[in-house]
Symmetry: C2
Subunit: 333 residues, 2 copies
């Protein structure tokens, strides 16, 4: 039995998460879902966006499935990533058949460092009208994230994928912090002679995800660069409705679609559940249920290819109807 | 007569700049080109990437036309931008007929703050293995860049364009520095009631340049965000071979293609001169020669549409042959 902490959060989180739970239930695996609250609504009601008991539930469970938060997103998700020390933010970028993508052979994973950089939140007014934010890079966090990236590339190589890690940085301008980032990247690379290693400046990288996305396998970068890059990458494979993510640490796993609470479409039942279902797939892999994960992904692929989708993808189904199409295929097997 | 400081720099800078000078000469305007050196080669020879006399020439001229620098790029171009206090980095993003673009109606300009942010170069090792970089945002620089952006939008509106400014920031995480950035954006916006104002998080913005680029007119952002965003944007309209830029201050104008020295193709005579010719167009506009600028752009448009291009754009011409096609059309008029 797996105990899953479920945080629907705000807006479409309340739609895509329940839809994904239906899919998870249909796998035949035994889940206990323990609900925790977080986000704008709780904040309005209780003056706190991420209540202590939600954190406690998260820590007791085998994994956390998170939907979305509104205005309080940073206070909820960035905090939760820190508290759970989920240092690797894993964001697959993949073109699925039936989805309008820049190319049809895109299949790489962005690994974003999740604990430091400009996300440390160290800011100050140092003189009148003069403000600073401090970007922190530590050798320890660099080493840890690069090892994670190379291990992932090795796992992917075993599955027949390329086996390459691309490091994105700005060492020409951030000579010290990203100089260290780049140096340690190649130090760690030496421990993985079976895996290719290359590096690009983050600006060039942001163009290459558009002009040559099919050449990438695992892309590793720092926190804010990964944030920016992964949204662009999502745009090349159908948008945020298609983008799942996993926050992985040594003790915890926190799973969330990349999109936000989408207040403009919330409550209409038309939110695309794909990102969250794919997030569920990542969670299943994390739990060691690879075979089940593959089954869910395959069922979803069929649904996408047949156009049994929400309106943003050109279909005419609701969030739940689309999820039900996946459920149906899981049960038929 | 216009006195232009010409810095070819390294690699393909030595090809695309001379090609562009041919185009400038063919306009019939009276130019004096004063050459200055900068980049890797000078560094190897003299131990300095940006010699003092080059800076002196730059300061005496009406404008600076810069090609590219290699490894020393940051030491040359970032320094030159600072010395000349060219606080606005202007990067047009436009789809030209004949060029493979994500959409055929892309026409906006990225205005990148050019003097602060993480480009201040303030870095330190604060403990063993712990490094910091300081991002600096000042109210003064914010106000100045936003005024520039809104003035540009107003000018574009007069030419029949949309008249909208989009601000990209990360105020949800960089609550103080980008909170200020966003606040001042809307303060300045109030002085321009005729111009629309909107803002997005930089990560979302990096997706929107892919999924809805046709909705933008002027996009304003901070230094490093602008660096990353503009390379992505270039990728949507044919790549760096198509991307010009202007660094504008109250006293100086520094004009450079966004691309680098491209050592892989340097010396082969196949570098695409379009970015630099378009950079020349921006320089002509800066000099007040709008009518001539339009003529050059039109001649180039015809050359692009006819496929009289370098191999990267699908043609079979050399750098100089392509420039000559533009020259021919300017002389025929
Ligand atoms: C909501 C926001 C704080 C978050 C981030 O910046 O990490 C989001 O953009 C993401 O990518 O998960
Ligand atoms: C070469 C580099 C220092 C420069 C920058 O980061 O500004 C370049 O990427 C650019 O965009 O002009």
């Amino acid at each position: 039995m797996y105990k899953i902490c479920v945080i629907e959060g705000d807006g479409i989180g309340k739609e895509v998460v329940p839809a994904t739970l239906e899919v998870l239930k249909a796998t035949g695996l035994d889940f206990e879902f323990v609900h925790g609250e977080a986000g704008d609504e709780v904040f309005k009601r209780r003056g706190i966006a991420l209540p202590e008991e939600t954190v406690e539930i998260a820590k007791e469970c085998d994994a956390v499935l998170f939907g979305a938060a509104g205005e309080t997103a940073a206070d909820v998700i960035v905090k939760l990533r820190k508290i759970l020390d989920t240092y690797a933010n894993v964001r697959p970028v993949k073109s699925y058949r039936g989805i309008k993508c820049l190319k049809d052979n895109i299949d790489y994973v962005i690994v974003r460092e999740n604990t430091e950089g400009l996300y440390k939140g160290i800011e100050a007014e140092v003189a009148e009208g003069v403000y600073t934010a401090t970007r922190v890079i530590t050798e320890k966090a660099c080493r840890r994230i690069f090892k994670f990236a190379f291990d992932l590339a090795r796992r992917r190589k075993r599955e027949g994928k390329r086996g390459k890690v691309t490091c994105a940085h700005k060492a020409n301008v951030l000579k010290l912090t990203d100089g260290v980032f780049k140096r340690i990247f190649y130090e760690v690379a030496e421990e993985y002679p079976d895996i290719e290693a290359e590096d690009y400046y983050i600006d060039a990288m942001n163009m290459y995800i558009i002009t040559k996305p099919e050449t990438f396998d695992v892309v590793v970068t720092s926190n804010l660069f990964g944030d920016i890059l992964s949204d662009g990458a999502a745009g090349t494979v159908g948008g945020l409705g298609m983008a799942p993510s996993a926050n992985i640490g040594d003790r915890y796993g926190l799973f969330e679609p990349v999109h936000g609470s989408a207040p403009d479409i919330a409550g209409k039942g038309i939110a695309n559940p794909t990102a969250t279902i794919l997030t569920g797939v990542l969670m299943l892999r994390y739990l060691g249920e690879d075979e089940v994960a593959n089954r869910v992904e395959k069922a979803l692929e069929e649904v996408l290819e047949k156009g049994l989708t929400t309106p943003d993808l050109g279909g005419s189904l609701t969030t739940f109807e689309m999820a039900q199409e996946v459920v149906k295929r899981l049960k038929e097997e």
